[in-house]
């Protein structure tokens, strides 16, 4: 299989504007004859649905939530990047582009990253127009703060609730189109299969969560904006019902999965306490602007933090990375934290946390300033842990947070299944091997507001497949396979609930395929996943609850997908014999413990093809750099 990323020919810097000039159009009066199915109501899905509906297409939006406003974009705290240089501190499109490519450790496409940086400013314009109450200066202009992996202030924010405010803005734009009759909202649906005919995406099979009915939704094109797959790990910062099913079922129907082992472990999360704890809560990266990360110099130091004198504290990020200090990218901060905790310096229960200390910032700037900046985060921390971060340092630890990997897409955001587009975190996108803070919201909105609304119509104009009837044999076969799958799971008749199996899978995966990976660990991970798969196949407990509403069935369906996905992540991590960004292979590191890329062998995107009757096949899309030459990342 040859992967064609459809990159525009010629210079990267104006590739997107040249590409747009050549995209086919559909006349306004004809647009209503095209039906687009959007899966997911987060930033990417809601904004794409609203944009396409405004243009005049018929849109149907599917979400598992009861309301589109609940999609997990709502939980993004810190902010959204844009190259506006409002702070006059040297920012530019070129600089955001370079930070993104470098932050991703040269494992993303230049053209895509450049387009993202170009579009970033328009996203802010649009969001302000839609009523996002961004933070402002006294003079009324927009305020910015800085984030990890950059030396400029380009992050726009709405306190610690930026994702919430952006999501509400695009959901409101979406609801306006629902009222206008151009979007049909289908909440409470889980996508369980993709319908393809002659290799082209034609719709999806969904289960209505309340009625239990299996439904067939057909369309001219399908847009997946179903988010990432961090919940394959036991306890991530994702919402507990976020899942990988839409993505994985599309993969099984022929969409290649790119770089599945590129997963981000966010350094600043509230560590786990009780074994029954269901998830981990993120503390925004913006806190590192004022909070200082430290550990006791002495391993096994049991003293309370205020009893540890200044000279006996190791501000290890400031020590190791003087030029970026506490604002190094996430992968670097997480790795160093894990390393020192492993060497016995960790604090808190089981020595599995590090301090994030605001004492100096409060003394220098006053409590009121810190409270205005981070008040809601501090109270969230206090609520969860029962400790007061104004008085004692926060205890934090890395947790799975975001997945850079995802379905492979070309420059037009189309997967290897024609007619199936993938947006937002669900695609493998522009973040390479590590995403910079405040870039997820930027990418989700770039995809949904501007890129898909240009490329999807062009595809529709050139490929006029009619919408197939729900009774078409292709639809009936897909529906029947879902029905049989549910019957099969129900008839297992075992003794283990899905939840316990899922915890074991997630725990083994974070151990073998988390912050640090080795060939031996990955191989034993593969064996453990196979053993768990056997337990799942033979010993799943899934009783019929007697009502259609059945969260246990949902969990079992999701777990079946996670088991296969975990296997692929381990294979991908094993095959990538280098360290890059968040993918740290212990065999490949410099003397100072930094990631060692192997560009000659691995300057490519790995895209995996699913096979029913054998191991997956690894394909490669080589990466080329013309504007920026790959160097070793240095944040020292």
């Amino acid at each position: 299989m040859r992967l064609d990323p459809q990159l525009p020919q010629g210079p990267v810097a104006d590739a997107w504007s040249r590409c747009r000039q050549d995209l086919s159009l559909i006349a306004p009066a004809n647009r209503r004859h095209f039906r687009v199915l959007v899966v997911g109501s987060g930033l990417a899905g809601a904004s794409a649905a609203a944009s396409l509906a405004e243009q005049g297409y018929q849109v149907r939006l599917i979400t598992y939530h009861d309301s589109p406003r609940r999609a997990h974009s709502v939980a993004a705290q810190g902010g959204i990047n844009a190259a506006r240089n409002y702070q006059n501190d040297g920012d530019s499109v070129e600089r955001l582009f370079r930070d993104t490519v470098t932050g991703g450790d040269f494992r993303a496409r230049e053209a895509g990253c450049h387009r993202l940086a170009e579009i970033s400013g328009s996203i802010i314009d649009q969001c302000v127009a839609l009523g996002v109450p961004f933070a402002r200066e006294y003079g009324g202009t927009l305020s910015n703060r800085s984030f990890g992996g950059s030396q400029v202030s380009r992050t726009f924010y709405a306190r610690g609730q930026t994702g919430q405010q952006l999501l509400y803005a695009v959901v409101q734009a979406l609801l306006r189109q629902v009222e206008a009759g151009r979007v049909e909202l289908c909440p409470q649906r889980d996508l369980l299969d993709l319908i393809t005919l002659e290799g082209v995406a034609r719709g999806a099979i969904c289960r209505h969560r309340l009625s239990g009915a299996l439904e067939t939704h057909t369309a001219h094109a399908v847009l997946l904006a179903s988010g990432g797959y961090s919940n394959v790990f036991h306890r991530s910062t994702n919402a507990v019902r976020s899942n990988a099913s839409a993505l994985w079922r599309s993969h099984r129907r022929g969409a290649l999965m790119a770089n599945p082992c590129f997963t981000q472990i966010h350094p600043t999360c509230i560590p786990s306490g009780d074994p029954d704890q269901s998830k981990l809560t993120l503390m925004s990266e913006s806190l590192r602007n004022d909070g200082r990360v430290w550990l006791p110099r002495q391993p096994g130091d049991q003293r309370r933090p205020d009893q540890v004198p200044e000279a006996e504290r190791d501000y290890f990020l400031e020590r190791l990375y003087p030029s970026y200090g506490n604002m190094v990218p996430r992968d670097v901060a997480s790795r160093r934290a894990r390393e020192l905790c492993g060497a016995g310096h960790g604090v808190g229960p089981a020595g599995r946390s590090i301090y994030l200390d605001f004492n100096e910032a409060i003394e220098r700037q006053g409590r009121a300033v810190i409270e205005a900046r981070y008040g809601n985060l501090f109270s969230m921390y206090e609520r969860i842990t029962g400790a007061d971060p104004y008085r004692e340092p926060m205890r934090i630890y890395p947790a799975p947070h975001y997945t850079m990997g995802g379905l492979w897409v070309d420059y037009h955001l189309m997967s290897t299944i024609p007619g199936l587009f993938v947006l937002g975190e669900a695609n493998f996108s522009e973040h390479g091997a590590n995403r910079l803070g405040a870039s997820a919201l930027m990418q989700g909105l770039a995809d949904g507001l501007f890129i898909a609304p240009a490329t999807v119509p062009a595809w529709l104009a050139e490929h006029q497949h009619p919408v197939i009837d729900p009774e078409h044999p292709a639809c009936r076969a897909a529906l029947e396979s879902v029905r049989q799958r549910i019957i099969r799971l129900r008839s297992t008749g075992g003794s283990q609930p899905a939840e316990g199996l899922r915890r074991r899978l997630g725990a083994l995966l974070i151990e073998s395929c988390g912050i640090s990976r080795s060939a031996a660990g990955l191989r034993s991970g593969l064996a453990e996943v196979a053993a768990l798969q056997a337990s799942f196949d033979q010993d799943l407990l899934l009783p019929d609850p007697g009502t259609p509403l059945d969260p246990e069935l949902e969990k079992a369906l999701q777990l079946e997908d996670y088991l296969e996905l975990a296997d692929l992540m381990l294979r991908d991590a094993l095959a990538r014999e280098e360290s890059c960004g968040a993918h740290f292979r212990e065999e490949h590191q410099s003397e100072s413990g930094e990631a060692l890329r192997r560009d000659a062998e691995f300057s490519h995107i790995a895209a995996w093809e699913w096979r029913a009757d054998g191991p997956p096949i690894r394909h490669q899309e080589p990466l080329h750099f013309s504007l920026i030459s790959p160097t070793a990342r240095s944040y020292r």
């Binding site: 009861d66 609940r70 127009a129 009523g131 009324g140 609730q161 609801l175 704890q277 109270s379 407990l541």
Partner: protein, 248 residues
């Protein structure tokens, strides 16, 4: 930290299947709970127990479990979102309760929120209120430069506070009249305070208030329970603001 190292709770939970016209309270006992567990995690544990005992698990809405998605919400001993102010149900920890306590959990009760099952209700009426005008009618692609319209720091902060409503429905559940006045007033304030939302302000206000009636929400009776239970502490003064502007 003080308090017991583990505690026991009796959860008296409203149980009503989707197909039943009414339900009943059932007592469920939980022991050996860590005070660091959240209330929803205690419910998770109960559900695992019920599953192994062959009983139907308790249904409740939840997702982000960090107080921002607005999915969760039910009454705890008659209080929407329970005893702590400014908090959703998912942000309640067992250290907020005492050993041996009986907690009565029941769903939001309002005509506009039909019951789904056990503790979950259908709140899609809130989305339909927004559809009536809770937006700025600007098409994607036609936005002016972001700094073209200055917005004062205080105004932006007020708009943000109003916009922080998470659509959980606690205000409706706590109101004796099951009014959605706080929800509507917050959206109106968010959009009217900002210059971007002002051109269509009168129409938005008229349509959203009308829709509130047709969706079966009651009228505001000035009890101010809504604001008292709001997990985002949205002030009831926004309702006065809405009514004042409507009568202008």
């Amino acid at each position: 930290m003080s308090g017991p190292s583990s505690l026991s709770l009796t959860l008296r939970i409203w149980r009503q299947r989707q197909d039943e016209p009414t339900g009943r309270f059932l007592d469920h006992h939980l022991t050996d709970l860590s005070p660091d567990l959240s209330l929803l995690e205690a419910l998770d544990r109960l559900n695992q127990q019920l599953l192994l005992e062959g009983e139907r698990p308790v249904h409740f809405d939840h997702d982000c479990r960090e107080g921002i998605c607005g999915s969760c919400g039910f009454m705890i001993n008659g209080q929407a979102h329970g005893p702590r102010s400014g908090t959703t149900v998912c942000q309640l920890y067992l250290r907020d309760f005492s050993d041996g306590q009986v907690l009565t959990l029941e769903p939001w009760r309002a005509r506009a929120f039909p019951l789904i099952q056990d503790l979950a209700v259908d709140r899609s009426s809130l989305d339909r209120l927004l559809m009536a005008g809770g937006y700025v009618s600007v098409n994607i692609g036609s936005a002016p430069e972001a700094n073209a319209l200055p917005v004062g720091l205080d105004v932006a902060a007020q708009a943000f506070e109003a916009a922080s409503c998470i659509g959980c429905g606690a205000c409706v559940a706590a109101c004796p009249n099951a009014s959605a006045s706080l929800f509507v007033a917050a959206k109106l304030a968010h959009l009217e305070l900002l210059p971007q939302g002002q051109p269509e302000a009168p129409r938005r206000s008229r349509q959203m208030r009308q829709r509130m009636e047709t969706e079966g929400f009651g009228a505001c009776g000035n009890q101010l329970e809504c604001s008292a239970v709001c997990p985002k502490e949205i002030p009831s003064s926004l309702i006065s603001r809405m009514n004042r502007q409507a009568s202008d």
